[in-house]
Amino acid sequence: MVKLILIELKKVFGRKRSYIGFLVIFVLVSILQAAMWVEGQTFIDMFTQNLQDTFVLEGNLMNGYFISFMLMNSLWVLLPFLVTFVAGDSIAGEAHAGTLRLILTRPVSRVSLITAKYIASVTYTFLIVLFLMILSLGISSLVFGTGDLIVFSKTLNIFPEKEVLPKFLGAFGFAFLGMTLVTTLAFFFSVLTNNSIGPIVSTMAIVLSFTIITNLNLEAFHVIRKLLFTSYINSWTLFFDYTIDWRQIYLSIFVSLMHIAVLFAATLWIFKRKDILS
């Protein structure tokens, strides 16, 4: 099994397009960090204007943690696009290239093969999230230093420095779970078609339309919203509420894990019964 996973990982990282995600994150994070270097303080001043009228503000809020939070906020919408490239291509790509049938002529069970491909896709997702974390949190902290974190959430929250790192670890951990769900969805679509464009487009169509419904503040969508996974995968932001709603976080984890389990089980079920014709 380990050998299979390593082979699949080699395939993933042997393709040049697998590096698009890393490149996009690197370029965007660099641009945003440069922009924050120039205008970050102005940005903070804009939000603390009310406070500056009344208070003497002492200490530096324009630090790596603040930039990391802003980067995470900005790039969150982009992550689903990046992780679907690999997962969507995982099975459908091989089917399109005609190598899937060839692989299955080898003494490898379909369950083992699909599990290995899935683990390779999730590993890629993990590395994308980790790369974002290293660049946004690690590099920003090195360049801009660390300090208390100011977050513009439902209220203006200022967290002491010692509380910030656990919040980021929780947030990035949850971000990985959310992106694993998106990966699993793309993987599910990948087993249904024989070209990799279909799963990528289908996954993005679902993520985008669900996100729109989730974010439209209409009473008509009140019940529907609760049924959509996009209402739960954004829960990394809850780690930056002043009083963390652990109940909602646990619920979001449960819902995400259930989606992952059901989608992967469905993928296995379909793949085991599928006629591999290409």
Binding site: N50, V56, E58, G59, L61, M70, G147, D148, Y242
Partner: protein, 231 residues
């Protein structure tokens, strides 16, 4: 214009207020009481209570040097009310003003003098100061500001045998405009957007508890020039 009007009203209502004390004597006695303080260092615990702002209690070390130098050192980020970043009676009272004795009134078990001052500086944001002063202990118990920019600002002082009778606690009450935070910055794009329009004014409170006063240690001016902070 506002100041002139207030001065006029206060002047014509003096007989009705049955002025019995010279307010300048009371204020000067306060100033002279604290005139021995050339500088001090104090540890402060700052608790901010503002509806839209959530932050933990912060620690700070405040350095003050006569007449108006203040330097604040904090671990992390801290907020201190601009008009009460440090205890400085001379600065609270000012130097160029017209003082009017209003009345005396009961303040717990003591009788306090209520004095209003109107700064002469036309550029000053302050229209009117009101002091509640314990004339026996020569302590400011309460201080209120009415300003051009609007909103009330009140400081309540508590004393507890600190060196030079410096206060142990300041409770600062003030008005502050609510914040309208853009959704792009909050990441909360599904939060209800019904409350649009002009920012509401909220009540805010800051409690500063002082400890470990060190008075007249001869603080170096360099300390204040490194990062000059006005009040």
């Amino acid at each position: 214009m506002k100041k002139a009007l207030i001065l006029l009203i206060l002047t014509f209502s003096l007989p009705a207020l049955s002025q019995t004390k010279d307010p300048n004597v009371v204020l000067n006695s306060l100033k002279s009481k604290y005139s021995g303080i050339k500088d001090y260092t104090v540890d402060a615990r700052i608790l901010v209570d503002v509806a839209f702002l959530k932050m933990a209690e912060k620690q700070a070390r405040i350095y003050y040097k006569y007449p108006d130098k203040v330097h604040i050192e904090t671990e992390g980020f801290a907020l201190l009310p601009k008009r009460a970043a440090s205890f400085d009676p001379a600065s609270f009272i000012g130097s160029d003003f017209t003082a009017v004795y209003i009345r005396n009134e009961k303040w717990g078990n003591t009788v306090v003098d209520v004095i209003k001052t109107i700064p002469h500086d036309p550029e000053s944001d302050v229209i009117l100061n009101t002091f509640w002063i314990d004339p026996v202990k020569k302590q400011i118990l309460q201080f209120e500001i009415n300003s051009k920019s609007g909103g009330a600002f009140q400081v309540v002082f508590e004393y507890n045998n600190q060196p030079f009778d410096l206060p142990q606690r300041l409770t600062v009450n003030f008005d502050i405009k609510d914040m309208n935070m853009p959704k792009t910055a909050t990441g909360e794009i599904n939060v209800s957007d019904k409350k649009k329009g002009a920012a509401k004014t909220n009540k805010g409170k800051v409690t500063i508890t002082y400890s470990n006063y060190k008075v007249n240690t001869g603080l170096d001016d360099k300390l204040f020039s490194e990062k000059k902070k006005g009040k």
